[in-house]
């Protein structure tokens, strides 16, 4: 009896693994403490051998991207996303099975049969393979299981009451999203080690599709929205804000390679802290590499590359970017400037590819020179009429808008006003791109950080007054042309109309308002010209009044209501016999050169 009881206890003890993982349970343990991964865990020599595993309609082909040789091929219909370790490639195939293949030779080692309705995701870290599947049984929404890579034995499996996401394996721990929580399981036994609440999943609708482990930190999320699982707060990192709609969620079922993957975000993480610093966005047949700012937003373009065929996979290996094209061709780029290093001709069309090799090189010098052509390439990208490029065209507009050179930013202004653009006809893509540009120009411009912009704005809000330290606004005003936020227009116009603003500063302010080209300044500029047009002293003490009139003339060329009002005001000034003569000349000539009906322009 005791022996039976002992056996029962033993079974129940190890059968903690047999118990259903609850959908929601109190948080416990520490993910970071449990999932300790040494940086050198990967077999470096094997992992360094690059390989592109290409998924054709009914075949898998592994190609050496350096020498352009086919290493092996297998007559398999791959239905999910392959994963790989230094030694093996795991291929999800029809029939809810995983085929384990020797990475070097392509020899099939074994086939693992999975339970459940459909595959959710697979991860491998020798000597374990972890898979999650979708279930549809009462009280059970998913299953997670671990297999040995050496003999294929299923080591354990656990039912879960919550649907699962794509797992990640690190060290001897498997980490997986389960509903609105993250669960860590010991790989040897499947025992639950830690459970973490992700508040953003409940309150902000963050989709917990997968877990990622990067440089000692754990992240969960999908697309452009990720949360740091070890962070002090549950803050969500929303990278490339405003672009998340183009990166489609994969859901709980791995349906294999699809068109949705041809819009993809790749992130390079800082080696100082676990924050993304560089990004690449793939959109069908173009790739834009960029530097991100501290908030994960596009800051500076590094290079642009486009192909005439769609790109189905992209990965960074060492200091190279490897692209797999839909026609089976492989293109290798230099990570630093995007130039083509190698092209390997294609064979059969492919649906997707897994690019394997050395991890991305750490870029220790974040100030490495970008491609000297990047600005021109971004401009050219904006002019491409291919609607498939819309995702990267939007990012190109973002990058140009973050440039400190006002001439570079004019492209975005013109796009917003419908004065330029890639699409002749009024297509959806054209409208979307213009709408994006219109939203963009209502936000900050240039490269300054939010903190720097706030500080500059606070300084600009000061007004000349006796008793204050005599301050020269000129450098501050010049800075607004390089980088500022839209609120500066109100401050600059207030300074324009302030009697204490020095004559020199006045000229700088008018020039800045002209460069910023914000229609919100039109009323103040018109008031300035009206107020002093008949004042011989103010109108001639500097070129400020004439320069302001020139800017007003530029807006008057538009067909907007504000432009029409400006034109009326200028005509009245031109007709006033008491107008300062030189100013009248400027206005009369300017009015004469305006188009009769005005262009249909939407001023910012």
């Amino acid at each position: 009896m005791l022996r039976h009881a002992a056996m029962l206890a033993l079974v129940l003890g190890t059968g903690a693994c047999a118990r259903v993982l609850p959908a929601q349970a109190p948080a416990h343990g520490s993910l970071r403490a449990e999932a300790v991964v040494a940086e050198g865990d990967v077999d470096a020599p094997a992992a360094a051998l690059p390989l592109v595993v290409m998924v054709e309609r009914d075949r898998v082909v592994a190609v050496d991207p350096i020498h352009g040789r086919t290493r092996w091929s297998l007559p398999l219909v791959v239905t999910g996303h392959p994963v790989a370790s230094a030694y093996r490639v795991i291929l999800p195939v029809r029939g809810q099975q995983l085929v384990v293949v020797d990475r070097d030779s392509g020899a099939i080692e074994r086939t693992l049969v999975l339970p459940g309705e459909a595959l959710t995701g697979v991860a491998i870290a020798e000597p374990w393979i972890v898979a999650t599947v979708l279930e549809d049984r009462p009280g059970v929404r998913g299953q997670i299981m671990a297999f040995s890579t050496e003999d294929g034995d299923r080591l354990w499996r656990r039912d879960t009451a919550a649907p699962l996401g794509v797992p990640e394996v690190a060290g001897d721990v498997a980490v997986v999203p389960a509903g609105e929580q993250i669960v860590a399981l010991r790989l040897r036994s499947g025992r639950e080690l830690a459970r973490l609440d992700v508040e953003a999943a409940g309150t902000q609708g963050l989709a917990l599709e997968r877990v990622a482990h990067r440089r000692g930190a754990w992240f969960a999320g999908a697309g452009t929205r990720w949360v740091d699982l070890g962070g002090e707060t549950d803050a969500t990192h929303e990278l490339l804000a405003g672009h998340d709609d183009v990166f489609h969620a994969t859901g709980r079922i791995d349906v294999g390679h699809s068109d949705d993957e041809r819009v993809r975000l790749w992130l390079r993480w800082s080696d100082v802290d676990a924050t993304p610093r560089d990004a690449m966005v793939l959109a069908r047949r173009a790739v834009v590499a960029m530097r991100l700012d501290g908030q994960g937003q596009p800051l500076r373009g590094r290079w642009v590359h486009s192909e005439d065929e769609e790109i189905v996979a992209m990965e960074v290996l060492g200091d190279r970017v490897v692209l797999a094209r839909e026609d089976g061709a492989i293109v290798v780029l230099d990570d630093s400037d995007g130039r083509v290093v190698r092209r390997i001709g294609g064979g059969e069309p492919i649906r997707g590819a897994l690019v394997l090799g050395a991890p991305p090189k750490i870029r220790r010098n974040p100030r490495l020179a970008d491609s000297p052509r990047v600005t021109a390439d971004l401009h050219r990208l904006l002019q491409d009429p291919d609607p498939r490029l819309l995702p990267v065209q939007r990012i190109a507009a973002d990058l140009l808008w973050r440039d400190d050179d006002v001439e570079v930013r004019r492209t975005v202004l013109a796009l917003a006003r419908g004065q330029s653009g890639p699409h002749d006809a009024a297509t959806d893509a054209a409208d979307t791109l213009q709408a994006h540009a219109q939203r963009l120009i209502a936000t900050r411009w240039g490269s300054a950080s939010r903190e720097e912009l706030a500080a500059s704005l606070a300084q600009l809000r000061r007004r000349p007054a006796f008793g204050r330290v005599d301050e020269d606004f000129t450098p501050l005003v010049q800075q607004t042309v390089r980088s500022a936020q839209p609120e500066v227009t109100a401050e600059l116009t207030a300074l324009l109309l302030h009697p204490g603003t020095s004559t020199d500063a006045l000229v700088g302010i008018v020039d800045a308002l002209g460069a910023i080209d914000d229609a919100a300044a039109l009323a103040a500029l018109t008031t300035f010209v009206q107020r002093y047009h008949a004042d011989a002293i103010v109108a001639t003490e500097s070129r400020a009044v004439q320069a302001a009139a020139t800017i007003v003339l530029r807006f008057a060329a538009g067909g907007s209501p504000a432009g029409v009002q400006a034109r009326t005001a200028l005509r009245a000034i031109a007709d006033d016999p008491l107008t300062e003569p030189a100013l009248r000349t400027v206005i009369v000539r300017g009015l004469a050169s305006l188009p009769a009906d005005g262009d249909r322009v939407s001023a910012r």
Partner: protein, 187 residues
Amino acid sequence: MTPEAICLAFVLGAAASGHDRAAPLRPETEVAAVSAHLIAWLREPGSTSADALRERVARGAPPAALIAMLDAFQQAPRVELLDVVQQLASYRRVDVRARALVAWAAAGPSHSDRAIAAAATDMAPSIRRLALALSQRHPSAAAEVHVREMLAHDAALAAEAAALQDATADVDEAALDDEIIVLEPES
């Protein structure tokens, strides 16, 4: 702190003084015509004339015409047109700004305090000197505070005020009313 009331009068080179009656509108080919129109609207009661004056000033008028109008306002303030005067208190030229502040102060006790406050923090020394004079014409506790704060930061004006107080201590108040202080436009 201050001597007896100091009377302010501004000498203008260009402004005409004979605006006794609102003249019919005539083409504004001269500053005098603009002055006449502004003063006529100022003296004509009702919202129509107020709107006309407001609109004409907004369209921009020669400084001399504005000064003439402001002088007339000072003589007979119309509170509903105070917004025009306050706007002209931000004019770039000192002479217009000074007239506007004087006119503003003439509109009543609460308005004089605000006019003095504005004058006391002006960048132009002559306007700050005007604050001192206005505080004599429109004394109040608030005005005294503004002036004291101003003099604490303006040593030159404080010395000037002290010297003036010494020099005029025995002068008859009636005689002071006839003093003229000429404000030179500042470069």
